[in-house]
């Protein structure tokens, strides 16, 4: 949550609630939204770390709100974030361990394990298809996020198929 908030602040100063709304608008309703409490906590930490600085703005009928801006160190942190490439996702490690250990433990049949796992992935795939259908069509960022999740799942399913071919 730290770096996405910093990246949002690169556009200009904002207060916590505005940042929450900006994230929601960008990633769509499907994305699990951080609650406002998490955002305030993260902003507090970023301020302590010297990456942002806050300023209280008086409001006539409400309590003061605090707006944040990036410091020079914060700008550098965002630049460094974009400079780095991102680590690739990992194979579903826990399932792989189960599968690898099944013949040794003697408590599970590998093919049964694969079939059960496939059912789970297919159900999730179905849920993602439904999500893509309900998400706004022209929210390209949100649609791409869902499509990305589907393609990862597709790869997991292809890999299950390979496991089944080899182990059957």
């Amino acid at each position: 949550m730290r770096l996405p908030l910093l990246a949002l602040l690169a556009r200009g100063p904002a207060h916590g609630y505005e940042l929450k709304q900006a994230l929601e608008a960008l990633l769509g309703a499907a994305y699990p939204q951080p609650n406002i409490g998490q955002i305030y906590v993260t902003l507090g930490r970023l301020e302590k770390a010297g990456l942002i600085e806050g300023e209280d703005v008086e409001q006539s009928n409400r309590p003061n709100k605090r707006t944040y801006r990036l410091t020079d160190a914060g700008v550098e942190a965002v630049e460094a974030w974009y400079e780095e490439t991102t680590a690739e996702p990992r194979v579903r490690d826990e399932f792989f361990m189960k599968l690898a250990l099944a013949p040794h433990s003697g408590t599970a049949d590998p093919i049964t394990l694969i079939n059960k796992q496939r059912r789970q992935y297919l159900n999730t795939m179905r849920d993602l298809s439904k999500l893509a259908a309900t998400e706004e069509r022209d929210n390209r960022v949100a649609q791409l996020l869902i499509e990305g999740a589907m393609l990862h799942l597709q790869a997991d399913l292809d890999w299950l198929e390979r496991c089944q071919e080899e182990l059957e």
Partner: protein, 268 residues
């Protein structure tokens, strides 16, 4: 089809009455097919039992070479089984010759292929109307059915186009219209999105789902899990056999914190 045991004081039911409500559209027992090519024989389908109920949307998935397309071809009479029995809509059809299969397909089975298989020197309108005319529908009714389907499939205005002038997604929608023009009891689709981009795939899936919601029975073969997940039931086919037969949306699942959205969660 299994019959529930009659209660002791009710008279026994007559043997094998026609029961259109519960009779599966497809029933196969011990279906087998071996391909004899130039190399060693390939046992594409090995003793498959299958039942597809009215209104079901079933996807058959598996790696290439698993025999899933052969299975679909057997069900549609495009290939003949070496052994086993097959019933379509209650009628035993495994002994049918080519002529009887042609009539059955015209009336009761629509087929969609990966490469559309449209007649390239006929217009879109003629491609769709032809099977209706062959089935004995009058020209006026065939035209009306064609107009309605093309409209429904977002192809209004393309009637005079030749297939080669259309995108892949559009050609597949024409193929879908052609397959559905005689209101078949069963729609078979062999990798219907196999040569489409993701936009074309989404469009074809959306249309298949829509026809399914109106009661169309669909059996679809695909290697693509995204396509398979549009179905209500997924059969995993390996090495000529059914390895798993799963109804989606049923049975216990490991709950994921935050629901499906959890799979979307980005990490810091």
């Amino acid at each position: 089809m299994r019959r529930s045991r009659p209660a002791p004081d009710t008279p026994p039911e007559p043997a094998e009455p026609a029961e259109p409500v519960t009779e599966p559209i497809v029933r196969a027992e011990g279906l087998s097919k071996t391909h004899h090519g130039e190399s060693t024989p390939v046992h594409a389908v090995r003793g498959v039992d299958l039942s597809v109920g009215r209104g079901e949307f079933v996807a058959v998935t598996g790696p290439s070479g698993a025999g899933k397309s052969t299975l679909l071809h057997l069900v549609g009479g495009l290939q003949r089984p070496d052994a086993g029995s097959l019933w379509i809509d209650g009628r035993r059809v495994d002994g049918y010759d080519e002529a009887r299969w042609a009539v059955l397909r015209r009336r009761s089975i629509g087929v969609v292929f990966q490469f559309f298989n449209l007649i390239s020197n006929l217009t879109v309108a003629d491609n769709v109307e032809l099977p209706a005319l062959l089935a004995g529908t009058g020209p006026k009714a065939a035209r009306a059915a064609r107009e309605e389907l093309l409209e429904e499939l977002g192809l209004a205005g393309k009637e005079r186009s030749m297939p080669g002038e259309l995108s892949g997604g559009e050609q597949q929608r024409v193929a879908l219209a052609r397959a559905l023009v005689n209101h078949p009891a069963l729609l078979l689709a062999d990798e219907p999105a196999g040569s489409l981009d993701s936009r074309g795939t989404r469009e074809v899936l959306r249309l298949l789902s829509r026809f399914h919601q109106r009661g169309q029975t669909i059996v679809l073969v695909t290697h693509d899990a995204r396509v398979a997940s549009a179905a209500d039931r997924v059969i995993s086919f390996f090495d000529g056999r059914i390895a798993d037969d799963a109804v989606l949306g049923a049975g216990p699942r490991r709950p994921r914190p935050g629901g499906v959205a959890g799979t979307l969660e980005l990490k810091d």
